[in-house]
Symmetry: C2
C-alpha cells in the first residue's frame, strides 16, 4: 500500500486507509489461490448462503454475496426459506446443508425474522463450515488463541492495519461496541497482537476520555457521530466499522470530516472496512475447503493469522 509519508503522519490531515484498493489486490491473490484449488481437486470451493424471509436489504446483501463469490471463482448458491419458517424447519435445513459434503462453507444471512433465535441457528451449524465464525466453538477458538474461522468484519480491520504497517504491540486500542460479530472478536485479534484493549458499549461512562487516550480507535456501535473529532488523539488510527443510513447517505460511526483533521490514519465509510469483508469471507471459504481436505490451518492458503 502507499504508506503515509512522515509528513502526513506528523500532521495535517489523516492518511486515508483505502479498503477498495487493498480489496482489489487481495482479490487478485485469492482468485489465483482458488484457481489452484480448482485445478488440484477438479472442483471449486463451494459456499451456500441461506436467506430466510424477504426483507429487501437482506435479499440484496445475500444476492450480492452470491454474485461476488461466483465472480471470484467460488461455487456459490442461495437457499431461500419463507419468512414464516418455523425454527425446527430452519434448523433441519441448516443440518442438511451441514452434512452435505459438496458444501464447504455456509452462512445464514442476518438478521433473521424476529421469531427465530440466531443463537439456535448458529449452534446447528457445522463448525467446520461456519465461515463467518459465529458458532460458539469458532468464537472460543479465537478466545483461546487457536483461531479457525474468524468473523469477517474484524478480520478486515486487522488486514487493513497490517497492510498499512501498523505495529500493534503495546498500543492501546479502544473498541466501541461489544457485539459477537465485531467488537468482541476484534478485541481478541488485537490482544493476540499484543495491543492493550479497552471495550466500551452503550452502558459505558466517560467514553470521551477513554477515546481521547487511544492510540487506535475502533468504532463498531452502529451510531453516527459517536466518535467526534474532539475525542481523537492527534495521530491516532481510526477504524470505522459503522454502516448507518442517514437519509440516502451511508455514514460510519465516526464524524469523518472532523476526525480526519486529527487522526494519523482513518478509514472512510464507504470505502474502508466494507469492501474487504467479502474478500475475508471468500478466504474463509477456501480455508474451509482446504481444512476439509485435511490441510492444517498453517498449511492452508486461507490462513487467517
Amino acid at each position: 500500500m502507499n504508506l503515509p509519508t512522515d509528513d502526513e503522519r506528523s500532521h495535517q490531515r489523516a492518511h486515508l486507509m483505502d479498503g477498495r484498493k487493498l480489496a482489489r489486490r487481495l482479490r487478485t491473490e485469492l482468485q489465483s489461490q482458488i484457481e489452484i484449488f480448482r485445478t488440484r481437486y477438479g472442483v471449486s470451493p463451494c459456499l451456500v448462503v441461506m436467506l430466510v424471509g424477504e426483507a429487501a436489504d437482506s435479499v440484496l446483501y445475500a444476492q450480492n454475496i452470491v454474485t461476488w463469490s461466483q465472480s471470484i471463482g467460488l461455487g456459490c448458491s442461495l437457499v431461500t426459506m419463507p419468512q414464516g419458517a418455523a425454527i425446527d424447519t430452519v434448523v433441519s435445513e441448516v443440518e442438511r446443508i451441514s452434512v452435505d459434503t459438496s458444501v464447504n462453507g455456509f452462512l445464514v444471512q442476518m438478521p433473521l425474522p424476529a421469531h427465530l433465535s440466531a443463537h439456535t441457528v448458529f449452534e446447528a451449524l457445522e463448525p467446520m463450515k461456519d465461515v463467518e465464525g459465529l458458532h460458539p466453538e469458532n468464537a472460543g477458538r479465537l478466545l483461546v488463541g487457536k483461531p479457525r474461522f474468524v468473523p469477517t468484519t474484524p478480520l478486515a480491520g486487522l488486514e487493513l492495519l497490517d497492510a498499512y504497517g501498523v505495529d500493534l504491540a503495546g498500543k492501546h486500542a479502544v473498541i466501541l461496541g461489544r457485539s459477537g460479530v465485531v467488537g468482541k472478536p476484534l478485541a481478541q485479534l488485537l490482544l493476540s497482537r499484543d495491543a492493550s484493549v479497552t471495550i466500551l458499549h452503550s452502558r459505558s461512562r466517560h467514553i470521551e476520555e477513554h477515546v481521547s487516550r487511544a492510540d487506535i480507535v475502533a468504532a463498531a456501535a452502529g451510531r453516527p457521530n459517536l466518535v467526534t473529532g474532539a475525542m481523537v488523539k492527534p495521530g491516532a488510527i481510526v477504524l470505522d466499522f459503522g454502516i448507518n443510513f442517514v437519509g440516502s447517505r451511508v455514514v460510519g460511526d465516526v464524524a469523518f470530516d472532523e476526525a480526519r483533521e486529527l487522526a494519523g490514519m482513518i478509514t472512510p465509510v464507504p470505502g474502508g472496512i466494507g469492501p474487504l469483508t467479502n474478500v475475508m469471507l471468500a478466504r474463509n471459504v477456501l480455508l474451509a475447503a482446504n481444512l476439509q481436505r485435511g490441510a492444517g490451518i498453517e498449511d492452508s492458503q486461507g490462513e487467517t493469522e
Copy 2:
C-alpha cells in the same frame, strides 16, 4: 455478607472481601442441592480428575480437589497416568471418560508435562462435561453471551463482587493478565454485567496510568507486587487472583499492605478468591449433571449467570 459501612467506604483502610466466609455459606447451600439431586436420581453427581505425571504440586492439588469434592457429597475419583504418557494415550483416555455415562464432570489437572499440548487435550474433552470451561465451545459460549461452564477462578471473582453488593454497570474494570483461564473469561463476565473493560498484559505500556483510573482492578498476571499501593485509585475495588510462592509465603499480585490503605474493598491472598474456586467447580459439576438429565441452564441449581 457484612457489607462495608459508609465510614469504611469513605475511608480508612479497605474492607476485606472474605472469600473463606462466603465459601462456607455457598458450600452449605450447594451441599443441600447436591443432596436433593442424590435423593431425586439415586446417585451423586460424579467428577473425574485426571492427573498426568507426578509433579508434587499437581498431585497435591488433584488430591485436594478429590477430597474436597467427596466431602461436599460429589462422587469423585482420580485417574492417574504416567509422566511419560504419549499424547495419543492421554487423548484416548480423555475420550473414554468423555463417553462414560457415569461421569458428569471431568477435569485435567494443569500443568501437563511439557511434551503434551493442553489445547489438544481440551479439544478432546466432551464439552458437556468440561466443568472448567476450557473447551473452545465453552469459551465461545461465554463470548457470545450464552455461558454454560465458566472457568472457576473468574467465576469466583464475580461471586465475591456480587456477595459484596458491587454494581458493575458502567464501572471501569482493568484486568492485568490475558490468560484463557482467568483474564479473558473474566473480561467476558464483566462485560456481560455492563462494565467497561480494559485488558492489559506483559506487553502493555503505561500500566500504572491504566490501573490508577480503574474502579475495579483485577490482577491475574502471576507477578508479586505488580499492583502497588500508589497505582490504586482511592476507593477502588481490588481483586487479587495471583497465587505466588515467595519463600514459604503465598502472596498475590497486589502489594496488599499498601493497596489496602487506598482501596475501598480488597481480597486478601490467601483467603480471597482461592477458597471459592472449589465451590465454583462443584457447582459446575452439579450443573453438568442436571444438564445431562435434560434440565435447561436456567432451571438448573448450578446456574452460572
